[in-house]
């Protein structure tokens, strides 16, 4: 097969039918444009929604769960060793929420090369006193530098500077909902009752907003040392170790492994946030489905135009065959015509898709729950463009294949006789 010649014949046939070819190409362009725009936008949305909670969540969280001891006294008894022992109404044992030897554990974690970083945390229920009302809430004692690095805390700060947590003693960042309920602002003091009944005053140095009412109405952040002081615990006291991995997909396996090694409870992000995964997947499926549908429609357009072209070009096909082109050569001529339409239409589609994404990226989109988002989110990813072009190629190839096969079967004798 002489590809150069066949391509040349294809291009000349195409030129002779430029208008229809352009119309067919526009169909592909439209399909690819919409596909690129949709996928970029949907994935932008996915990222934004993931950012709402997934970015705020540790890939693996190590903690001590309050639960009954697994080895109950009866299991130590030799007499009942070979029996099934049923024990009812077992009460949990308070081994404390503290993670023992946390410094050493964190050191080990940091030396694991799958780990991107670790952040310690103290997590405790408290009551915020606003006048004579008590609001149930949570105080998170965090190492603000680690929190910043792993979870981009300042992205969610609406007021104040997160670094103040480390420098100002007894300082606290309140969730927006909580701050609004208590009518406090930066510089105000809030009173907190701990679970042990102690009464403490904390100075508000900032307000954050995660965009999830559940969190914004109950959560507050303070430094590790403030939290330890609050509960009169030593400086080694922490209740959670948050681990961020380099590859989030490893989380379930790593969680299992750590639980074993450190004899702690471990939960991975996939288990903790299954519903978010599902949402993301469905949005992706929708955008791909729409893109593919548009391309199939474009494919039918190409199919029609190629069929028409073949009827018009019967004579040319007969001449080509009479002068030595085989059925296969003729097939490739028409496949190339289709693919040329696909590649040029598809490439234009990529360009327009990019431009349309840019446009959407600049449309203002302000929502109270997402303080750092100013415009509609778009995720630019070269992979989408590669997929788009491959889609265009595959659909136009298939759309061209059937008419091309028909052309290859045209009997030149019929045509020459018929004239």
């Amino acid at each position: 097969m002489n590809i150069k010649l066949i391509l040349n014949v294809s291009i000349n046939l195409l030129r002779a039918r430029l208008k229809q070819s352009v119309v067919a190409g526009v169909g592909v362009t439209f399909g690819i444009t919409m596909f690129i725009t949709l996928v970029s936008f949907m994935n932008g949305l996915n990222q934004l929604l993931d950012g709402l909670i997934l970015n705020r969540t540790a890939h693996v969280r190590l903690y001590n769960e309050v639960k009954p001891n697994e080895t109950q006294p009866v299991n130590f008894s030799k007499a009942y060793a070979n029996h099934q022992n049923f024990i009812s109404s077992v009460k949990p044992k308070d081994s404390g929420k503290e993670i023992y030897d946390s410094k050493a554990i964190m050191k080990v974690l940091l030396s694991d090369e799958r780990v991107q970083g670790v952040a310690p945390k103290i997590n405790t229920q408290v009551f915020f006193n606003a006048g004579n009302i008590e609001l149930a809430g949570v105080i998170n004692g965090v190492d603000i530098a680690a929190e910043e690095k792993l979870f981009m805390f300042s992205d969610y700060v609406v007021e104040g500077d997160s670094r103040d947590l480390a420098t100002v003693s007894n300082s606290v960042f309140l969730g927006k909902g909580l701050a609004d309920k208590m009518l406090v602002n930066i510089g105000d003091v809030v009173n907190v009752t701990t679970a042990q009944g102690d009464f403490v005053s904390l100075k508000v140095v900032g307000v954050f907003q995660f965009g999830l009412a559940d969190l914004d109405n109950t959560q507050s952040y303070t430094s590790l040392s403030t939290a330890q002081k609050l509960f009169a615990k030593p400086t080694s006291y922490i209740t959670d170790i948050q681990v961020k991995l380099k590859d989030v997909m490893l989380a379930p396996a790593v969680a299992k492994e750590y639980a074993e090694i450190f004899q702690l409870d471990a939960i991975d992000i996939q288990t903790a946030n299954a519903q978010f995964e599902t949402g993301s997947t469905i949005r992706s499926i929708i955008s791909y489905a729409v893109g593919v549908t548009l391309l199939i429609v474009a494919g039918f357009g190409i199919y029609n135009i190629l069929n028409m072209m073949i009827y018009e070009k019967m004579d040319s096909i007969a001449i080509l065959k009479a002068t030595g082109f085989s059925g296969n050569d003729v097939k490739w001529i028409f496949v190339f015509i289709s693919v040329i339409i696909g590649v040029s239409g598809g490439t234009l589609g990529l360009i327009f898709g990019y431009l349309l994404s840019l446009l959407i990226d600049n449309i203002p989109f302000e929502t109270a729950s997402l303080p750092t988002i100013k415009t509609f989110p778009i995720y630019y990813n070269p992979v989408f463009y590669m997929i788009g072009l491959s889609f265009a190629l595959v659909t136009t190839y298939i759309a061209g294949l059937f008419p091309a096969k028909k052309a290859s079967k045209i009997d030149p004798v019929d045509i020459i006789r018929g004239k």
Binding site: N2, L5, N8, V9, N12, L13, R15, A16, D315, S316, A318, I319, L320, K321, A322, T323, G324, F325, S326, G327, N328, D329, D411, P412, V413, I416, R417, K419
Partner: protein, 225 residues
Amino acid sequence: MSTKVIETIAVSKEFSDPVTVKILKEVSFDVHHGEFVSIMGKSGCGKSTLLYILSTMDTDYEGKLYLNDELLTGKNDKQLAKVRNEKIGFVFQFHYLLQEFSVLRNVMIPGLKLAKYSTEEIEHRAMERLRMLGMQDHANKKTNQLSGGQKQRVAIARALINDPLIIMGDEPTGNLDKLNSDLVFDILSELTKENKQTILVVTHDPEFAAKTDRIITMADGKIIS
């Protein structure tokens, strides 16, 4: 010494639409190298049908067909396409040229397909043949800017591009006036004389046929002389 360029052995063909009719009945004949042969016969006697078989475009027949002692019967589409490209030049009654290409390109295409020479060389050879047929000044025209006689000359130039073993024509002068018809005949006879080009032409023109080396007369699907 004269080798057989074309030889058929008992070639038969029937159409079964709407009723089975035998159009060619055991046609056996040969054409020797350097001969200018014409086929004559009444309309509907099967001349074109025979020519399509000889040109390998029609493979649905019984009997055997040899080109230069090579059996063509039973070869596949790809092999036959190569044979047509390399060894057979075909000139139709209606000047079949590709409208999408220039005159020069039309002549070049079978050469490009064969790819025996470089593109420059093929272009040179195409120009040579156009010059031989007095068409060199029209090389860059579109085919629809030519007259019928001019188109036929371009078709002959195209048939010659790969130095074929044989040129076949189905009434190549069929819709040309006397002047152009004579011109085409002169070109063809010159080719046989000067290049020992083998030519097989179906014609209705007794004057044309009379000037050829040999006349094969057909009647009712058979060769009668």
